[in-house]
Subunit: 280 residues, 4 copies
């Protein structure tokens, strides 16, 4: 930290395991740097929810109020002025970007949200774990982390902010044999007009180069976004059930992690939002 | 058909494309044989629903009333006496076996059912289609067939029979890069007691060697059932949302197709239900 | 061991790590049992070569003279009467079966043999090793174990026996992203007639149900032999270089390991050689 | 072609199927443009060898003498001044770059060369072919194209140029289940000093940013070069057999195709050789 502070840098990137990041963040902020943290340490504003989901008291609760959840398309202005940005998790990004515009406009019933995600194996990190061996993951499809994956906490925090009310959802992550990629299908009862869905999405994302709205009736494919910061979004309406289907695809290591943090860095530093990122 | 009839056989297996199977079935029945049809031609009892989902009038509607939907664990007695068995589709099997016992007992709200499935590429058949090339499917995750996959028709028929009322559900199939395997996650609002869920499942499947109830809190893995006639089932309850999660895994070409037809053959012929099938 | 001996069994199967098997083998033989050992402990007849390749003195050198190398197609008579069978390694099986008949007949130049093998990841065993993680093996192709893989010792022992002279070869194993399967391409300068190659192979394997000679001009595919005890063999002649190409495919866990040990068990017990094994 | 010529461009890139490229090339050259052709049409200098390997007379034999084989590390000066560059095939690049320096220095015996390659499925192109379906390629390992793959013609042309004598080699391509990547293992009898091998490689490639010499005793991994223009090279010596092993890894669509053509474009246009290419 001394070295970072002495280097003249004004922004630090932290890619540390959950828990370890908090100590560094405190020190770096004390030295006057701004911090973008890729861990889960500062994503929640409520220390009690942190303790509920992560099983230990928060190590630096005084920072939770000012920490900004680093979804640039949603919190761009706050990121610009932030001292501390908490970059989102991979699953949350894929669920929040399609849903937030609709909850803000009251277009879906927040009590009916079901999100199913499939993730590539790199999402589990690089650790010597029997469950992550090639022969265990290849030709294997399985849900895990039920019924309360840690990411639910940040998902529900941001959905509640958008809806203006407490939202709880069903979220089922699955492990599938690809290296990179998340494909998420979220559904909820449509309470507004179908046309308003498209308007809500387009109006929020029209200037967001990394959110590609493929349109109604489309199914995004994770291979079209891997190794990029793009998230592709499609949607369908099923008049038989009255439910709206939201489909999204991103790279869990890209828009779901590293390149989204770069995007936040660009916003925070006043650079072009796509500086250093593939944007065509 | 002449040859089959002359051979002295009394049961014919048909693995023909949709549409083509009906002609053969009519002829074979006329010659006094019993038929197990693996196509979708005789799964629906209502010719108008067939036409709605398959886009053409049914070629032999007079047979729809007597055709038995070939889920042995559900329709065992009817299969035993059937002239015509319509073996179920792969997705339907994975959705119906966990849900039917609960709908019969009124344990979940039929208006809240959301089923998400992932299937291996063999489910699409062996045809020279660019979308099925290795380089298109490998490292790719995508939904398809929305919002009304053809299998919905038989799923909803059987769920409605179990519930005693018309049921419509949300069903989202996804294509994932494995050869074999289906992993399905179905959720619905729990309206009964959680203990009753387990009782309902165990009471229906206690003598069904191919349905393995892994128990509450478990997540089946498709690789444990591929190349077999087993379906593994687990479940979870999320008290935060009030939803019950049902997880199932099967081989789309096994319990979801060929070996399930063999199981029906065994029932129909009065053989041991697991004759010729791996059952340990 | 007491339990095994007391059980009335007369044959013991050992699937233990290299080194550990020797102790058990000695005890079991002392108690009058016959042993089929799947480890590498008793494959070599020369203790000094064992020490050279395995880096430690052999723990029971007095047994090396009587141990029979468990390739049933090559050592069937010796296996029938053996007290101790050392079941071959996966790579050796794929190299030896095509080559031995040709070396016996002097049809290829033993100084020019180059064997290249590709193996699925299960060949490395189930251990928590970073190099075996899904994300490390998927989309990855790499040689390893150069220039002197341990299996070279048993390969060269058996080739030398067939040639009647000391043979050393070039052997390059590669790790590729499949669960099961070995595909080996061996080439050597043809010194006899091409027709004699086919005769030599057919005459040795005509009654061997598990060796399928696909014929000249064919390329075996590992997926046709996985989960079986078959090895498929094809061959090509390149008149431009004068080299003969021998191609073989097997399941590294089947003919390359477990099911081959079962085959030896059948021979040793006087059972039908394919008892308990898929043979059609 | 009119449009290209009228556009003011001076260089045309052709990525057309074999055969189709020749017509365009002739027209574009006639209009005064320089051409980089990614097809196999102009890789051979001898029209009779073209006819032998491609089964038809060459459509524009008068251009074969001036066409430059587009391996920038080997033919950099000729590319700089060329009107017509024929960009190499994927397999040839992986075999030629390790071998050419050694043949020039007479360090290996050209009569003993055996090259074994594994290629990802994208190498076969994007065509609706049953053999390329996911379920046919996944969990499958197989050689193909034996004994005389078309690429042998250009491989042997360039090796012969390097050796100063006619060279024929054994080349065995294999199809393995990855999207991208080629891993090639070439061996030959070492006739010079082992130290001279390293010197020969380093002296030719010391200023070639895209050829990374990993050093003696290393095994390149294709995943380290996919989506780049790098080729990684390692080597081993086996004193038991006297053979040298050369291992190389590249992206069949990168250094083996598209990005190598960009590299040639840079040379031809006098740009920095790595302009537009990842080079760190």
């Amino acid at each position: 930290m001394e070295a970072v502070a002495a280097s003249g840098a004004t922004v630090a990137f932290l890619a540390l395991p959950h828990g370890a990041a908090a100590d560094y963040t405190v020190s770096l902020l004390d030295k006057g740097l701004r911090v973008i943290d890729l861990s889960a340490d500062f994503r929640l504003h409520d220390a009690s929810i942190y303790e509920e989901f992560y099983g230990a008291p928060h190590p630096a609760p005084h920072l939770l109020a000012e920490s900004v959840y680093g979804l640039p398309e949603i919190h761009r202005d706050a990121i610009r002025d932030a001292r501390l940005v908490a970059s989102p998790g991979c699953y949350p990004t894929s669920i929040l970007l399609p849903l937030i515009p609709l909850l803000r406009e009251g277009l879906v019933d927040p009590d009916t949200i079901v999100a199913n995600s499939m993730s590539g194996v790199s999402g589990a990190g690089r650790k010597a774990d029997l469950l992550l061996l090639f022969a265990e993951c290849n030709e294997s499809l399985r849900a895990y982390g039920l019924p309360r994956h840690r990411h639910l906490s940040e998902i529900e925090q941001e959905l509640s902010l958008a809806a203006g009310d407490q939202v709880v959802i069903t979220f089922v992550p699955h492990l599938v044999p690809v290296n990179n990629g998340i494909c998420t299908t979220t559904s909820a009862t449509l309470t507004g007009e179908l046309e308003a869905v498209e308007q809500a999405l387009r109006s929020i994302y029209e200037n967001s180069v990394f959110v590609r709205l493929l349109g109604r009736g489309t199914c995004p494919d994770s291979k079209n976004v891997t190794r990029s910061n793009f998230i592709d979004i499609g949607w369908h309406h099923d008049p038989r059930t009255g439910r709206l289907l939201l489909l999204s695809a991103e790279d869990n290591l890209g828009k779901g992690a590293a390149s989204q943090a770069v995007q936040s860095f660009n916003v925070l530093c006043g650079l072009d939002e796509s500086a250093g990122l593939v944007a065509v």
